[in-house]
C-alpha cells in the first residue's frame, strides 16, 4: 500500500524512478508489460509532438490560442493509463496527454483550439467530458458523475484534472467535501505545475503541500513526483482500486512543472527565470522514461527517432483535417442549445438567414 507509506503531512514525495531513469523503489514498480510501457512512451511523445506542432501553427497564425502541455506528459499519461473502458474522465483544459491516452482523437482536440465546437463532441463510446474553461467548477461534475455511478451500482470510477490554481476556488472545496461526505468513487488529480498563469503556487495556498488538503475532507492524499510516469501510474492505480472497492475518493498531487507558457497569449519570461526553467528541463518526464527504456533494452535510439517522426506526421495529418473543416455551419450555432429550438431562436435564425439571402451570402 503506497498511501500508507507516504502520508502527506510527512512531506515525502512518492517516486519510483529517479531522474536518471533508475528504478529506486522496485517494490512499487507497476505490474505493466513492456508493450504497455512502449504504449505509454508513445503517448507521451505524441503529446509532445502535437504540442510542438500546435505552437508552430499558432505562430503561423493558423491555430487560435493554445495551451501547451510540455513537461506534464507523465502526469497525464501515467494517470490516465490505468482507466478502464467504463471509467469517466473529467478534464480541465490542459490535458492533451490524458485525452489521447483515454482514446480521444487528436483531430478533436485540435478542432477545439481551432475554434470549432465539434472539438468538444466526444464519441458515444468515450466517457470523457469536454474542455472546461472556468476553473475548478468541473470538479463538482466529477463528484456528481461518480455519485451517480455509486447510486446506480455501476462499476466505474471517475478521474478529474485541475491545476494548483484551482485549489484556491470554492468549487475545489465543495467538490472534495461532497465526494468525502458521500464517499464516491472519484480521484482528484491536481497537476501542480507551479503556476496559475503568472501567480506562483505560494500565492495560491499557504499549506505545505496540496496533497495534505485531502485530510480536511476525510480522504487519503499523496504527493507524487509528477514527472515520474511509473509513480503516477502506481499511485493512481491504487486510488482507482480503492474507489472500485467502495472506499471513496482520493486526492493526488502531481508535482510537476509547466515548461511552456500558460497559453500562447502569455509570456512566462515575465514571471519566472530561465535558470528555473532550465532546472526543470533536466527533469523532463520523457527523457526520464527514455533513459529507463534504453537501459532495459526496450527502446533503441533508432526506434525513438521513428516514434518521434511518426508522432509528428500524425499531428500534421490531424491539423490538415482541422484546417479543411472550415467555419461552423450557421445552423450549428443554433441547434444544439436546447433539444428543440425555442420560438425565439427559430425566429432569430430565420431573420439572420433572410439577411444573408439578401446579401447573396446564403
Amino acid at each position: 500500500m503506497i498511501f500508507e507509506g507516504y502520508h502527506p503531512l510527512d512531506k515525502t514525495m512518492f517516486q519510483v524512478m529517479d531522474e536518471e531513469g533508475n528504478i529506486i523503489k522496485p517494490e512499487y514498480m507497476p505490474d505493466i508489460s513492456k508493450e504497455q510501457m512502449m504504449e505509454m512512451y508513445q503517448l507521451m511523445i505524441q503529446t509532445r509532438e502535437a504540442d510542438l506542432k500546435a505552437l508552430m501553427y499558432q505562430r503561423q497564425g493558423r491555430m487560435l490560442t493554445y495551451a501547451p502541455n510540455i513537461g506534464q506528459e507523465a502526469a497525464q499519461v501515467g494517470s490516465a493509463f490505468p482507466l478502464k473502458k467504463e471509467d469517466w474522465m473529467v478534464p480541465a483544459f490542459r490535458e492533451l496527454g490524458a485525452w489521447l491516452t483515454r482514446g480521444a482523437k487528436l483531430e478533436m482536440i485540435y478542432l477545439y483550439w481551432y475554434g470549432n465546437e465539434f472539438g468538444s463532441y466526444m464519441p458515444e463510446d468515450l466517457k470523457i467530458l469536454p474542455v472546461s474553461v472556468p476553473i475548478a467548477s468541473h470538479l463538482n461534475h466529477a463528484a456528481g458523475i461518480a455519485w451517480a455511478s455509486k447510486l446506480q451500482g455501476k462499476d466505474e470510477v471517475t478521474i478529474t484534472y485541475f491545476g494548483d490554481g484551482a485549489t484556491s476556488q470554492g468549487d475545489f472545496h465543495e467538490a472534495m467535501n461532497w465526494a468525502g461526505v458521500y464517499q464516491v468513487p472519484v480521484v482528484f488529480l491536481c497537476q501542480n505545475n507551479q503556476f496559475a498563469i503568472s501567480v506562483p503556487r505560494g500565492i495560491q495556498t499557504s499549506s505545505e503541500t496540496i496533497a495534505q488538503k485531502a485530510l480536511a475532507y476525510g480522504m487519503p492524499g499523496i504527493l507524487v513526483d509528477g514527472n515520474d510516469i511509473f509513480a503516477m501510474y502506481a499511485a493512481v492505480k491504487e486510488a482507482f482500486d480503492r474507489a472500485r472497492r467502495g472506499e471513496g475518493p482520493t486526492l493526488i498531487e502531481a508535482f510537476t512543472y509547466r515548461i511552456g507558457a500558460h497559453t500562447t497569449s502569455d509570456d512566462p519570461k515575465r514571471y519566472r527565470s530561465d535558470e528555473e526553467v532550465e532546472k526543470w528541463k533536466k527533469k523532463d518526464p520523457i527523457d526520464r522514461m527514455k533513459k529507463y527504456l534504453m537501459s532495459q533494452g526496450i527502446l533503441t535510439e533508432e526506434e525513438n527517432e521513428k516514434i518521434i517522426e511518426k508522432a509528428g506526421k500524425i499531428a500534421e495529418e490531424a491539423f490538415k483535417y482541422v484546417e479543411a473543416s472550415g467555419d461552423t455551419v450557421l445552423e450549428d450555432i443554433f441547434k444544439y442549445h436546447y433539444k428543440e429550438m425555442t420560438p425565439q431562436l427559430t425566429e432569430q435564425l430565420a431573420e439572420y438567414k433572410a439577411y444573408l439571402m439578401e446579401r447573396g451570402e446564403a
Partner: protein, 327 residues
C-alpha cells in the same frame, strides 16, 4: 380530486414523478429528514429512501455541480435551493455549465435537471430571503424559467419541468405556498412549458403577470371591472422562453397593456415584454405600454415590504392611466 395548496401540489408531483421514473432523485439542504424548510419535500425520504432523497452539505455550487454530473451519468436530479437568494453561489454552475453542456458537447451530454427555488417576498423574512431575480436566469440562453401561480399549475408545470430534457429553473412563489387551496386532479398531467395562460378574457386592456403577483393582478382586474374596464389577464407561466404569440394576440385585441412584476423594474421581464410588443404590435397600440413593478432596490426588510410589492390599487391606477390615454 383533492383540494390542496401550492406546496402540497409540489410535494405530490415530486412523489408521482419519483414513482414514475426511478431516475428522478431529490436533494438539497434540509430536504431529506426535515422535508425542506417549507416542507415541500416532506415524506420523500421516508417513502423513497435516503438514496433517492438526501440531505446535502450546505453547498450551493456543490448541489448544482453534482446535479450536472448526476444528469450526465443517467439520473434526473431535482434539486432545491433553499431560497432564490441563496442560488447565487451556484450561479457559475448554472450559467457556465448547466445551461451550456448540451451545446458545448454538441448534444453528446445533456443536463435534464430541475432547480426548484422558493422566490419572492411578502413573508416577513430576513435579508436575502425575498429575492425575485427571475430576469437573471431568463437572460441566460439554455435555461427555461417556469413560475406557477396556482396549485393546479404548479403540478402540471413541475411534472413538465422534470420530464423536460433541458435544464429548468422552477421558481415557487412562497408567498402563496399556503395562501389558498384549489381542486387538483390526483392523476398525473402536464402543462406545456413556454405556453402562457389566459386567466381572464377581456377587450379593454391586457394585464400580464406571473407567480405570486397574479393574485394582486387579478384583484386589480376585478377593481377595474367595477369601473367598467374589462381587462384580459395573462399568466405568463414561463418567463423564458416567453409565449410571444399569446401576448401579441391579446395586445392586438386590446391595444393597451400593463405588465406587473414584483422584481426590480430596470431590465426586468417587463422590459422584454414591452420590446416584443413594440416589435410586433406597435401599430396596434393605443397607449404606451406600462409597468407596475418593484423598485430598483433590494427587497426591503419586513418593516418596509408593504411598499415594495405592487398593490392592487397601484396596479389599478396604472390600468386607468393606460385606459384613459388620449381618450
Amino acid at each position: 380530486m383533492a383540494v390542496i395548496n401550492l406546496l402540497q401540489a409540489v410535494n405530490q408531483t415530486l412523489k408521482q414523478e419519483m414513482k414514475r421514473d426511478k431516475r428522478v432523485i431529490v436533494f438539497g439542504e434540509d430536504v431529506g429528514l426535515e422535508g425542506g424548510v417549507f416542507r415541500a419535500t416532506v415524506d420523500l425520504q421516508k417513502e423513497f429512501g435516503p438514496d433517492r432523497c438526501m440531505d446535502s452539505p450546505l453547498s450551493e455550487s456543490g448541489i448544482v455541480g453534482a446535479g450536472i454530473g448526476l444528469a450526465i451519468n443517467g439520473l434526473i436530479p431535482v434539486v432545491e435551493m433553499q431560497f432564490m437568494g441563496f442560488s447565487y453561489p451556484a450561479f457559475n454552475q448554472i450559467i457556465s455549465h448547466m445551461a451550456r453542456m448540451r451545446n458545448r458537447s454538441r448534444g453528446r451530454y445533456t443536463v435534464p435537471m430541475v432547480i426548484r427555488m422558493p422566490y419572492g417576498g411578502g413573508i416577513r423574512a430576513l435579508e436575502h430571503h425575498s429575492e425575485s431575480t427571475e430576469a437573471l436566469y431568463a437572460h441566460i440562453p439554455g435555461l427555461k424559467v417556469v413560475i406557477p401561480s396556482t396549485p393546479y399549475d404548479a403540478k402540471g408545470l413541475l411534472a413538465a419541468a422534470i420530464r423536460d430534457e433541458d435544464p429548468v429553473i422552477f421558481l415557487e412563489p412562497k408567498r402563496i405556498y399556503r395562501a389558498f387551496k384549489q381542486e387538483v386532479p390526483d392523476e398525473e398531467y402536464i402543462l406545456p412549458i413556454g405556453k402562457a395562460n389566459i386567466v381572464k378574457e377581456g377587450g379593454d386592456v391586457t394585464l400580464i403577470s406571473w407567480g405570486a403577483m397574479m393574485r394582486e393582478t387579478l384583484k386589480a382586474a376585478e377593481l377595474a371591472n367595477e369601473k367598467g374596464i374589462h381587462a384580459e389577464v395573462i399568466d405568463l407561466r414561463t418567463v423564458a422562453p416567453i409565449d410571444q404569440e399569446t401576448v401579441i394576440e391579446s395586445v392586438k385585441k386590446t391595444g393597451r397593456v400593463v405588465i406587473v412584476h414584483e422584481a426590480t423594474k430596470t431590465l426586468g421581464i417587463g422590459a422584454e415584454l414591452i420590446s416584443i410588443i413594440n416589435e410586433k404590435a406597435f401599430l396596434y397600440l393605443e397607449a404606451p405600454p406600462a409597468r407596475v413593478t418593484g423598485f430598483d432596490m433590494p427587497f426591503p426588510l419586513p418593516r418596509g415590504e408593504q411598499h415594495y410589492i405592487p398593490s392592487p390599487d397601484r396596479i389599478l391606477r396604472k390600468i386607468e392611466a393606460v385606459s384613459n390615454y388620449l381618450t
